[in-house]
């Protein structure tokens, strides 16, 4: 009797959870569905939940009438460069901070912890002035370089390296391995999962970055897709299907990265918050 009572309650809970989950993804579904409608269908009352047969006009229009391929290319160049450089430099820096004794080590680590607290938004004014002086405004270098200066990955990697027993490095040193060999053949493979997790999280974060591309780009050809899509929208006026089509295109890479590497993203997000 008691068991039955529990399973009914549990079933209700599960049902409630399912309803909440469906409600939560509904906006995502709604954008996808709207992108497959014609403009007149989008404002029909009552709204149709399933766009059948699918209508690809909005996608075709957006691809033909906006520099979306250029924006895609820009965003890929920026996100991949930022991810590769951030992870490589952070691994190296974290390894030195965790394993090698040298003067200035403590000062560097403390400066990273303080730098980690500084909000990027508060630094955009001097950053913009600096970029202006360096002639990096509206260039890939201007988009990429400030985004690799975040100390988060260094702090995370250092925590993971600190937990590897020192004997691994000592033994390898005695065998004559160089420090870079030790990092890339021992420490990196041992921490492969967190490296991978931080890479995906960095990629998603860079792809989605809005504030910096907004400030540092001024010509349409240099925009990244999250900023570019807002320009197209204001040019279209009220055109929900086209607006939705470009939103779908803009979110495919990050949504796919998350859905494919769900566990890694979870791990990376937690590590970034300070929980392992």
């Amino acid at each position: 009797m008691k068991n039955q009572h529990f399973s009914v309650l549990g079933g209700l809970c599960t049902l409630l959870t399912m309803i909440m989950a469906l409600a939560w993804v509904f906006p995502v579904y709604w954008i996808a569905a709207t992108s497959l409608k014609s403009e007149t269908q989008t404002i029909a009352v009552p709204p149709s939940l399933l766009p059948w047969p699918p209508n690809f006009d909005a996608f075709i229009y957006v691809i033909q009438n906006s520099p979306i391929f250029r924006w895609y290319f820009n965003t890929i160049v920026v996100s991949v460069s930022v991810t590769v450089l951030t992870i490589l430099f952070s691994l190296m820096c974290a390894y030195a901070l965790s394993r090698i004794e040298f003067a200035g080590k403590t000062v560097i680590y403390w400066s990273l912890l303080i730098g980690f607290m500084l909000p990027f938004g508060a630094l955009v004014i001097p950053l913009f002035m600096l970029m202006n002086k360096l002639n990096f405004v509206n260039s890939y270098l201007g988009l990429i370089l400030p985004q690799i200066a975040t100390p988060l990955a260094v702090i995370v990697f250092k925590q993971f390296f600190d937990e590897v027993p020192r004997d691994f490095r000592d033994a390898a040193l005695i065998d004559g391995a160089s420090e870079s060999r030790i990092l890339f053949s021992i420490y990196l493979p041992m921490n492969w999962s967190i490296t991978w997790a931080m890479s995906i999280v960095t990629f998603i974060g860079t792809w989605n970055n809005f504030l910096w591309p907004l400030i540092i780009t001024s010509s349409t050809t240099m925009l990244t897709i999250p900023v570019g899509m807002t320009q197209v929208q204001s040019a279209y006026g009220i055109a929900f299907a086209k607006t939705s089509a470009i939103a779908v295109l803009a979110s495919i890479p990050t949504a796919a990265a998350y859905l494919i590497f769900q566990k890694r993203v979870t791990q990376g997000v937690m590590a970034a918050a300070g929980i392992k």
């Binding site: 959870t17 906006p27 607290m117 508060a122 001097p126 200066a149 100390p151 989605n208």
Partner: protein, 309 residues
């Protein structure tokens, strides 16, 4: 130096000691050079693009520079102006209002979702993905969805609920609208942290309590809640820091309007710097934000250290 066992012969023993000494010596000699070789690539960009701007923003706040950086030293005049600026204090109030509307609700919803998700087995990953998916979308996609769903005339939310709110065009509804969108977008993050906290609670505690006759409600109130509190406090502080920095959603949903009702601190700064060309004064606003955030982050570090210990 490690002790060499006695059973090793003299020559081998000597060779081993020699080898270790060499390794150690080369390690010491390498120390400086290698360490800096490892640290410099990151440090170069870090100093140039984070440390230098951080110092520069403090200096700029003492000048009347334009956005190109040209201007004169004017002492604390910017701070005096800031202190008397109605627009600045209005932006502070709007930010605090936004914080009130998001920090606790976002934490509570995250906790609720975590409770709902951890008890699932086969459905766990898809349900988790449903709650977390908005978090990985670009903010402009999130706001596109919001503007479309909350459209006063054609939006499906007004259609389904029969509401006639004009959302982002109504000064009373604009900020709650922004807060709602923010919660929808970011709650998955809080949920993940809570799930980790819930999974850390050993099931033996629950079993023992059940044996002692504690009801489900009692177990929730006297085991789950207190044991998950460290995570709760962490999430609250993280949210506090994060929501102080709100900019993107406001820029995309309302542009600070209607009637400035959603002009938050960072948006106020952005407008001063990049629309009114007042780099120095905008830097003063940035400094005010930095001070608040540093206090919040110091609190976060304290919480994390308490957790570790």
């Amino acid at each position: 130096m490690r002790k060499v066992p006695a059973w090793i012969g003299r020559e081998a023993r000597f060779a081993m000691l020699q080898h270790e000494r060499n390794a150690r010596r080369s390690q010491r000699r390498q120390g400086w050079g290698t360490a800096w070789f490892f640290v410099v690539p990151f440090l170069f960009f870090y100093v140039l693009f984070l440390v230098y701007p951080a110092i520069q923003v403090a200096y700029l706040s003492l000048t009347n520079a334009d956005i190109a950086g040209q201007g004169n030293f004017i002492g604390l005049a910017n701070y005096a102006e800031l202190f008397h600026s109605q627009d600045f204090w209005a932006s502070v109030w709007h930010t605090l209002y936004f914080i009130l509307l998001t920090v606790v609700p976002n934490t509570a919803v995250g906790f609720l979702f975590a409770l709902l998700v951890v008890r699932l087995r086969r459905l766990r990953l898809p349900v988790l993905a449903a709650f977390f998916l908005p978090y990985v979308l670009p903010v402009s996609v999130v706001t596109t969805a919001a503007l479309w769903l909350l459209d006063a005339n054609f939006g499906i939310i007004n259609y389904l609920t029969g509401s006639t709110a004009a959302w982002f065009a109504d000064p009373n509804w604009a900020m709650p609208g922004v807060a709602m969108v923010t919660i929808w977008w970011t709650v998955g993050f809080n949920m993940l942290l809570f799930m980790a906290g819930l999974q850390n609670i050993s099931s033996e505690i629950y079993e023992a309590a059940a044996l002692d006759g504690a009801s489900a409600l009692q177990r929730f109130l006297f085991i789950t809640c207190p044991l998950v509190w460290p995570v709760t406090s962490l999430v609250l502080v993280l949210q506090l820091i994060l929501q102080f920095k709100i900019f993107d959603q406001v820029y995309l949903l309302t542009l600070g309007g209607p009637y400035n009702s959603t002009s938050v601190v960072l948006f106020y700064m952005y407008r001063l710097a990049f629309q009114q060309n007042r780099g120095g004064y905008a830097a003063t606003v940035a400094i005010a934000l930095v001070v608040v955030i540093i206090v919040g982050s110091a609190l976060q570090f304290r919480l994390l250290n308490v957790r570790r210990r």
